[in-house]
Symmetry: C2
Subunit: 215 residues, 2 copies
């Protein structure tokens, strides 16, 4: 059913997919590439409030105007549905509403966890937290899971990272240099990151889930 309705749209890096305030006629999900959800103030200050990766859902069934800007960070392919049709489908297919609810609850948890990052972590921990997100994503999807060692490409520029972490790009750059100096990460070029020890990175991020007590 969804298959029949869907169509694809492509966006170039830097292109705005949805403007805050605009009426959107479609919902969809990311097929490939990365996009950001951004909130902006009148004086130009802006804050990234979400990072959209493949399989993430975009749009809000039952809502008219978008609240945030959606911007393609890399070249982006989305799989879209006309909103009206999609909403009808939600009404006629209870299972879909439940699935959407689950996804939205996950996003809400992620947003709230990010509030802790923004509010209470220092610059070094913020960078480590962001790197952890990329690392985890790659750890699950790729094959390079050799005993805690990981590598991946940063999908964001320093500026975009700064915007997500609520820092300046200078501070991002400095803290990446410090983490490199301290051996938490290694760099190949500006974008390719090697994490020799994922646990170490997680501890640096301040979420030492694994119970790594620093006595």
């Amino acid at each position: 059913m969804l298959e029949k309705m869907k169509y694809c749209r492509s966006f170039e890096a830097g292109q705005t997919v949805i403007w805050a305030g605009d009426e959107t006629s479609f919902v969809g999900s990311v097929v490939s590439g990365i996009a950001t959800l951004t909130q902006t103030m009148e004086d130009g200050r802006s804050q990234m409030v979400g990072l959209l990766q493949p399989s993430d859902f975009v749009g809000r069934p039952g809502r008219d105007g978008a609240v945030f800007n959606v911007i393609a960070v890399s070249d982006l392919v989305m799989c879209c549905f006309r909103k009206k049709q999609f909403e009808d489908l939600v009404h006629s297919t209870p299972h879909i509403a439940q699935r959407l609810l689950e996804m939205t609850l996950d996003e809400l948890d992620a947003a709230r966890e990010w509030m802790l990052v923004l509010g209470r972590k220092n610059a070094r921990e913020k960078i480590a937290s962001l790197l952890s997100i990329f690392a985890r994503r790659d750890a699950s999807s790729s094959s390079n899971a050799r005993e805690g060692r990981l590598e991946f490409d940063l999908p964001l520029t320093r500026e975009a990272m700064a915007n997500y972490l609520s820092l300046t790009l200078e501070t991002v750059s400095r803290q990446i240099s410090v983490l490199k100096r301290d051996g938490v990460i290694q760099l190949q070029g500006k974008r390719h990151v090697i994490v020799p020890d994922l646990d170490r990175l997680l501890i640096e991020a301040g979420d030492d889930d694994d119970g790594g007590m620093i006595v």
Copy 2:
């Protein structure tokens, strides 16, 4: 149907309603009082990630463990349902899942808007933003809507405000003093706030929706 299942629980101010990590056997909504959603780090730093007011929903159908602490800030009455029963109801009544989805989307928007507050606003704007939330809530529910003038009681201590805004309580106190000195607000005692001009407050908060350009 819901009526038959519901039961009430009361909590005293300061009491923890739900511990992060615990399995919760109920979902519910706030009847009266205020509660906070709080995220904590191992070293004790914590960040409030949500403020629960009357009519707000608590709990996550389909999820086992809670992710955040829920703490009663004032005396609190909640109307609860056993989670299992509620989930069955969600499955059998499509309309409920749709309603929950809408509420969750609203919460997600609110969380993301708060990320802008945490990430990009300075202390003065943060305080003004928080006061705006209380003011708006009271403006809609009460009768004191005399030409932009409003008054209300702060439901939170300075410490709790600091925790929500990601500031220290000293900074909260100082900025409240400054807003008072500048005539943006007046205080009666420590908790009762008078807002002579709501538009002014909104401008101070940085979200000048009304287009109030400061040339």
